[in-house]
């Protein structure tokens, strides 16, 4: 056989033939197109981050960039504005929410701040947001004190729901608010307020309401008079007393106690002198009748 080396052999070599067949294999093409790039990238990444220093450098670099972005002046909060709160409450809030300004708005946990602000008794609800211009705005809805409660440890202001608002040094500081007393009075502030509304005609004479045994109310009037109200339906009972008073001037008399605890049997307790006078007049009545006879 003569070698034909000067002519190029048109036949593909065995390896070229096999290579072409391999390249026509769908699985292999898929592997080349997707498997190989993905695999090589994964391997490169794995090798690069196999080193702990590089990993750390990446993490710190990312953190650094993050910090830089967070600390841009656009995101900084410079002051806190408290709206809708009195000076003392605002002071309290500033005290209880300690933030060192300037601070990045990414570092502020607004929900946490809101909860902290609402921990203050005088705050009914708070809305916290970061306003444009780097202002942390806390919108406070204050509790409105409705009554003064003379508790065991001193005077306290309560709102209409019975929640503590603040302590009070002197009763005279808030003469506009009615006074409650007795243990457990704060749990029935609503009832007390409705009783006070009912007792509007007696308002100048009322000293306060006294909670007795954590179950019923006494209305304490000046001159040492009391109206003892029943446990249930105290309002109607009080209305009856007021009606009696308006009709017969009941409370202007020398009474110590109007006992309405049993609505079936209202009882009056007179003072010592009144009782004696009553007895004397009765006696005199009797003697005049007897002498007339």
């Amino acid at each position: 056989m003569r070698s034909l080396s000067r002519l190029r052999d048109p036949a593909p070599s065995r390896s070229a033939y096999k290579m072409q067949r391999l390249m026509l294999t769908p699985m292999f093409r898929f592997f080349l197109r997707i498997g190989l790039p993905v695999g090589s990238v994964l391997i490169a990444v794995a090798i690069y981050f196999g080193d702990a220093d590089r990993r750390e450098a990446l993490v710190s670099g990312v953190a650094d960039i993050r910090r830089q972005i967070e600390e841009r002046p656009e995101f900084m909060v410079n002051l806190m504005a408290i709206e809708g709160a009195s000076a003392e409450v605002a002071e309290d809030i500033r005290e209880i929410v300690p933030i060192d300004f300037p601070v990045s708005s990414f570092d502020l946990d607004l929900e946490q701040i809101r909860l902290r602000a609402e921990e203050i008794d005088a705050v009914a609800g708070a809305g916290v947001r970061v306003r444009a211009g780097g202002v942390l705005e806390i919108e406070v809805k204050e509790r409105q004190p409705a009554v003064v409660w003379r508790a065991r440890d001193g005077l306290e202001l309560l709102d209409a729901g019975g929640h503590r608002v603040a302590a009070l040094a002197y009763r005279a500081d808030r003469p506009d608010l009615p006074l409650l007393a007795g243990a457990g009075a704060h749990k029935a502030v609503g009832e007390a307020l409705s009783l006070l509304a009912v007792s509007e005609p007696l308002a100048p004479r009322i000293r306060g309401l006294l909670r007795v045994g954590e179950r019923r109310w006494d209305v304490v009037l000046d001159r040492g008079q009391r109206i003892l109200l029943p446990e249930t339906d105290p309002g109607p009972a009080l209305e009856r007393v007021i009606a009696l008073d308006q009709a017969r001037n009941l409370l202007a008399r020398d009474l110590a106690v109007v006992d309405m605890r049993n609505p079936e049997r209202p009882t009056l307790r007179m003072n010592q002198t009144a009782a004696e006078t009553f007895r004397d007049s009765k006696f005199q009545d009797m003697t005049t009748k007897m002498s007339d006879r």
């Binding site: 048109p10 065995r14 072409q20």
Partner: protein, 444 residues
Amino acid sequence: MTDLYQRQRAMRAMRSAAIQRGVVAILDIGSSKVACLILRFDGPDRLTETDGIGSLAGQSSFRVIGAATTRSRGVRLGEIDAMAETERAIRTAVQAAQKMALVRVDHAIACISGGAPRSYGLAGQIEIDDAPVSEMDVARVLAACDVPDYGDAREILHAQPVNFALDHRTGLGDPRGQIGQRLACDMHMLTIDSALIQNLLYCIKRCDLELAGVASSAYASGIASLVEDEQELGSACVDMGGGATGVSIFMKKHMIYADTVRLGGDHVSMDISKGLQIPLNTAERIKTFHGGVVATGMDDRDMIELGGQTGDWDHDRRSVSRAELIGIIRPRVEELLEDVRTRLDAAGFEHLPSQQIVLTGGASQMPGLDVLAPKILGQQVRIGRPLRVQGLPQAVTGPAFSSAVGLCLFAAHPQDEWWDFEIPTDRHAGKSLRRAVKWFKDNW
């Protein structure tokens, strides 16, 4: 024989696997060219086992998606001569076809023309006791055919049942389901040199392909270039290739005879080369451009420059008239056709009802052959071209590709062969014992 049976069955299994996968390569390994077609099986008829042939003559199931042809190397007279060269030629063709098709093929169906094919007509008959003929009975009657001693170094390439007879009715295409006493069958068996098959297997294996079927190229070009009524009424297909000319005779749509004349177009080129003292390539070119077999007065004045690269001015400036060229070509073509005539006579072609002869193959494109051939082969001669199949490029629709196209049809709808039937179970001990008992019962 069992070994061959197994191998052919394995090839059939491979073929169905290839069709299941959808891509199969067709390899026509000829003496002058190697052609590779890649078929994709995805048409509407795919995988439907219909009786007979489906729509579009069974071609709607496949489509040619790749075609390549290359000069053959290492094949002489239709036989593999230099294995490494043949392997390279196959590789070239397969690679180019794969490149065109953009798919990878793993299965190939090949045809080959050489190997001195020899036809045998086999007959066998069995008794069946008035029962409908089952597939098993067909297998038994095929097994009952007495196989002649075809020699050691030969292998069966085709073994096709061509005719069944049930009692006195003959010419049955399909005896299954019919009732009779005696089932007889005629089988056409084609053997070729086993060395050729071995070489072919080796070459194809070296190309990383699996052989999913092998056919004689005479048979393949017959099914491609004979039209249906020609196949039905009896006709011969003469596939004039480069190194060998295949002859196949069809009757009732079955091949009943195949043979090879070891002459072809290459011999004509060789004669021109020798006669005019020019290189073989030039001779081939002159044959293709100026060749013919019928000379006219015009041809004396038609001078052909021979050319040459020797440096001798007189030698390189020679020219011959076309008449001289025809004078060289014609005797060889006549010899070829006379050989074909001899083979056809030997096969008893004159007894067929119709005696159509179809010339196909690359050498049949020779001008004037349609005038010369009837003088030798008889009046009913035509030049045939292969069937058109879907997707076949224009360049491979010529008669030179009739065996490749026939192989496509063969791949889509192979003829039932011996090994398509089950091995008859009466070879098992139990069945033969039962038959012995039956014989006793019947006779005592």
